[in-house]
Symmetry: C2
Subunit: 405 residues, 2 copies
């Protein structure tokens, strides 16, 4: 019986297991055995697999997996050397492919994972292998090229927008002047921070200022922005990317390293630095909130659109493999925005790996403290719909990952 291998890599999202479920479901439908390599490409090197089609024999059995956050198969941060410098890993991997009668390998991940797919593709070509090598995107950062957006982003954006709305309710209760700074993930691309704008639901006005890494951050402009907002309203709420930089490209977060009593340099986050700035320059109550890792793993608040698209892309990757496509990544092409409609396509992995997609500057307002309607319209469809996860004993019921622990 022919088989395929699927693996996951990079940082968690709540949609990456839905893509995995899509691959497994397509394998099942095509009578392929599907092995899940544990901890990414390391799983192949270490011959550590989960028999996915055996463990999930029906579409229904995949339901919990679809809605489980992070990587069911575990992750890795393993960078393959160039095969021209050291081909030992490649020989091992392609031996495994042969031994297991593997016709296709699917790697679900972000930029680094696409780099692995690219390197495997180059090696495969060099040895004349016909194995299909397909990348399936995922990243909350939404920074992969050639695709309209990436699985995982819509759910993270829904979490950010909903959280900002809830934090606004938490903030508006006191009739005193205050500034609340909310720091959001995204070191280089501001897509996730920009999604804070979707908290403005017609009633709620927050966030009142949004700062992104795509444009230079100026401290004096920032203070003037905050003072201006404080002249309009009591409670000013600010969304800021962890990756904001000044005009010289220096991270704002790096501008205020402190030393703890052990002598460690402690780097404050961008939010904390802005909090201290406001405290120093404006006499007002201020606090900063770092949205923690839940922005990438709160599967209980996933976007149904996102989860469904991730599954669809997992299934589509099998279609590509069967059509003989290789060295490619599954992409999404937006056909219409009203009503929202997308189709799956693909692009050559060499045009994606190691490239980054930033927010176009014309989607950021001229005074660099907010986003345009075009950007909101772009994100809006991606956060629509809620998934119905199950609960057991009062907490979410997710797939059993005891094989990782």
């Amino acid at each position: 019986m022919d088989s395929c291998i699927v693996a996951q890599s990079g940082g968690p999202t709540v949609a990456i297991n839905s893509s995995l479920a899509g691959v497994v479901n397509a394998a099942r439908k095509n009578n392929l055995k599907c092995y899940g390599a544990v901890n990414g490409i390391l799983g192949i090197l270490n011959e550590n697999y989960v028999h996915m089609t055996e463990s999930f024999p029906t579409e229904e059995s995949l339901d919990i997996l679809k809605n489980t956050p992070a990587m069911f198969l575990g992750s890795c941060r393993h960078k393959l050397p160039k095969y021209t410098e050291d081909d030992s890993s490649y020989i091992k991997i392609f031996d495994e492919f042969k031994k297991k009668n593997v016709k296709a390998f699917f790697y679900i991940g972000g930029n680094d994972s696409m780099d692995t797919v690219l390197k495997l593709s180059e090696y495969a070509r060099s040895i004349g292998s016909h194995i299909r090598l397909i990348g399936i995107p995922k990243t909350i950062d939404n920074d992969l090229c050639m695709t309209d957006h990436t699985p995982g982003f819509g759910s993270a954006a829904k979490y950010i927008a909903s959280s900002i709305l809830e934090i606004s309710y938490d903030t508006f209760i006191y009739p005193v002047k205050s500034v609340t700074i909310i720091e959001i993930m995204g070191r280089d691309a501001g897509w996730l921070t920009a999604s804070a704008a979707l908290a403005r639901n017609g009633v709620n006005t927050a966030p009142h200022l949004i700062y992104l890494p795509e444009v230079a951050f100026d401290i004096d402009d920032f203070i003037a922005d905050v003072e201006n907002q404080l002249s309009i309203r009591d409670n000013v709420i600010i969304a800021v990317s962890e990756g904001i930089r000044d005009k010289d490209g220096e991270y704002i977060a790096a501008s205020n390293a402190m030393e703890d009593k052990f002598g460690h340099k402690q780097l404050s986050g961008a939010g904390k630095v802005l909090e201290m700035l406001v405290k120093d320059r404006i006499n007002v109550k201020v606090r900063s909130v770092e949205v923690n890792v839940l922005q990438r793993c709160a599967a209980h608040l996933a976007s149904k659109t996102d989860i469904d698209e991730a599954f669809m892309q997992g299934e589509y990757s099998m279609k590509l493999a069967r059509e003989g496509i290789t060295a490619s990544m599954v992409c999404l092409n937006r056909l219409d925005n009203n009503p929202y409609k997308v189709e799956c396509t693909y692009a050559a992995i060499k045009d994606i790996a190691n490239e980054v997609k930033n927010i176009p500057v014309h989607w950021i307002t001229q005074d660099r403290n907010d986003v345009t309607k075009e950007l909101v319209d772009y994100i809006y469809p991606l956060i629509q719909g809620e998934v119905q996860i199950g609960y057991k004993k009062g907490v979410p019921k997710y797939a059993d990952i005891s094989h990782l622990v």
Copy 2:
């Protein structure tokens, strides 16, 4: 037409508006006009009201209010002086009661709010007023006496348990040794931190260590605990209360004040201090996560048991007032735990205000790094059930609070 006034005070929870809805619903059923004072007791002093029974004329119209986080009526941190020292506020408040034909005043809040109810009760007695003064509890800290538990706690506990579970999934993906420290609210009482134990669902083993403010925290014991856990498993997850103290009562968080470049002393949280300790004493990957204000305002993940009980207590407070009870707080009495069953009761406000309920020490394990089954069994019923909130444009649909902004 007779009337009543209701107000809210203290810090936010996701259940406090459900108690408000309960009061309004009971007022409506009893043909009472219900005024909501905006920003707690200040709303009466400033004559700033929302006409609640007009704004919410049916039980159905209260549905969104019930599930809205934080205070629909706004909050305050206003401490009344003793009336024997300065009775001007009291004269104003009781004038308002008279002017509006108010028969009862309901104050939904925590410890400080109960202090206000107590003071108003003492003043009422001194002038022979027959107005009914009733406190309705709420606090995520669960630290009010004379009641089995407080509205708001169950939802916050559900949020903490679910978050720890999701953070575990986020953590277990890498096959490398790591320590993750999760800091949870609760300066004096450890109830909310203890609820982290409910993340252990039979599959997930995290958190592996729990540290509470009720017992002295010892740094050397802590390091030994972590080293022991690291010898058993790769990823150690630790729940810690912001309020942990050493044997001399000094906050651990206070032990590592740093100075920023403006010369401000920056107090790290307890989690951050433990992170630095682990970094210094154990050679392992470590990070700390501060669960932010969402633990008290994430209404999208509320406990249905909590929301329903909060509503019930709101309605019950009206029953008490009509029976002539005053100077009291609504309480919950647990009749059975299997199946879980509670009834509403009440207690004299003087036995509640300014008292604190801590975790009994026999519900903490002997080595002071975990909680007992009794404590888990106590919290377990309180996090059961999920509320179905509505979504609009992809974000939760909550009551319009534009009167506060």
